[in-house]
Amino acid sequence: MTRTVFEKAIEAVGLVKRYGEVQALDGVDLEVEAGTVFGLLGPNGAGKSTTVRILTTLSRPDAGTVCVAGVDALRDPVGVRRAIGVVAQKHSADPDATARENLVLQAELYGLRDRSRVDELLERFGLQDAADRQAKTYSGGMMRRLDVAIGLIHTPKVLFLDEPTTGLDPEARADLWAEIERLAREERMTILLTTHYLEEADRLASQIAIVDRGRIVARGTPDELKAELRAEAPSDEPVSLNDVYLKHAGRAVAA
């Protein structure tokens, strides 16, 4: 079933999701070209995590279709799971286990027995000295790096990062940005990241969609979105993604 070559790494059409009274998603369409970094931008409660949960087969939409890495996520969720890596908004490392144990378990869950990948990731994420300490002793930045390493264990074709840098100090954030750029450039990984830091989307993403109240309210490259606004309201002030955001969502990003 898995096609190794696909142009669209993610194709979602008409995603709808309701939780009781809350309409979390109200017809979301997304298309992400293979090998690009896509930024899903929106305030708290906009529906970013809900979208990620559906795209990563953790939950199912009430309506709509999802195709990830060339595989139908609703028909063949296991096929999608093999191809994707997920770093959820919450920490996902087992705090009672060490970094090494977390990575070994993750490798085994993908059927990988080779431990060299574990060592490689420990080194790449600067965790080798702490590798045999329980994760609950780690700093926030180390814990986040472990989460990302866990998501990368099987070298996924498509990587989902749900608010990867929220709560990190500026230095840790810069490190993670550099790593995300490296993954996109050197490993040609398709990356979908959600964020409510405009700066982050501006720097990392080649395509952006702004989501608000379960709908995509704007999309394009960061420059396109800024140019659009500049054309509408010409002024000498430089336009930032924040201005674009305020126009479309009508409220501040960090709620």
Binding site: H91, S92, L109
Partner: protein, 245 residues
């Protein structure tokens, strides 16, 4: 084979937790001994009731009863781990891997079963030292393992479905005593009211207690079937949990 290997890798996670908490390990070892000594002292008189019909010592009768009681009570709490995993985010990470869902349950159940088997060995050892005769030690180990596996899966499934510590604590406290006392674990049912004898026929704890003293294939088979059924339930629970996300 992948399923076995994945289950084993998952179980390592739980064994480590056990080994890294010396206090917990100590409780696992001391608890069965306390139970045997305490219940032994308390129920010594029971076997002297006319009609009890035990021809051996009170310990011969009581030892299997204490083992099955311990098995259900240890197993009942297994689901706490999944509740913690759901709240911490670890569960969602496991569920987006292509791993077989059953491995998450089997891995956790395996830890419970191994603990219960070790506890059973301790009880048997102490009972023998105290002069008891355990006629069917192998069968006792088997039914303890099956009972523990069945209830550990049940607890896991409940944990995943309710996701709340309070719900699981409630369920375990509600069920544990009736399951024990509506069985022949501590008391011969011929001495109990008739309705209890009837209810006990449907009680897995009683199946285990009876089969451990006087092995019969029907009850062991029922326990095995229950183990499979609750394993299926726990595995299905993940899909139901995902549907609520």
């Amino acid at each position: 084979m992948t399923a076995v290997r994945q289950s084993w890798q998952v179980s390592l996670r739980y064994f480590r937790v056990l080994l890294r908490q010396p206090a917990f390990l100590l409780i696992t070892i001391v608890q069965p001994l306390i139970w045997l000594l305490l219940f032994g002292a308390l129920f010594k008189a029971v076997t002297q009731i006319p009609g009890f019909g035990g021809n051996g010592s009170y310990l011969d009768y009581l030892t299997p009863g204490i083992v099955v009681m311990l098995a259900v009570s240890s197993a009942g709490w297994t689901g706490m781990g999944f509740i913690e995993d759901i709240n911490s985010g670890v569960m969602d990470r496991l569920l987006v891997t292509p791993a077989w869902r059953g491995a998450f349950n089997v891995g956790s159940v395996a830890q419970c079963v191994v603990s219960v088997v070790l506890q059973t060995l301790l009880i048997i050892g102490l009972a023998l030292l105290m002069g008891a005769e355990i006629a069917h030690a192998g069968v006792l180990l088997l039914v303890a393992a099956l009972l523990a596996a069945a209830f550990a899966s049940l607890s896991n499934g409940l944990g995943v479905l309710t996701r709340q510590r309070e719900s699981l604590i409630g369920a375990v406290s509600l069920l544990l005593l009736p399951l024990t006392f509506l069985s022949s674990a501590l008391m011969q049912l011929s001495l109990a009211p008739g309705w209890i004898e009837t209810v006990a026929k449907f009680n897995p704890v009683d199946w285990a207690a009876v089969a451990a003293r006087d092995p019969d294939l029907l009850r062991i088979g029922l326990l095995a079937a229950l183990t499979v059924l609750s394993g299926w339930f726990a595995t299905r629970a993940f899909a139901i949990y995902q549907r609520s996300l």
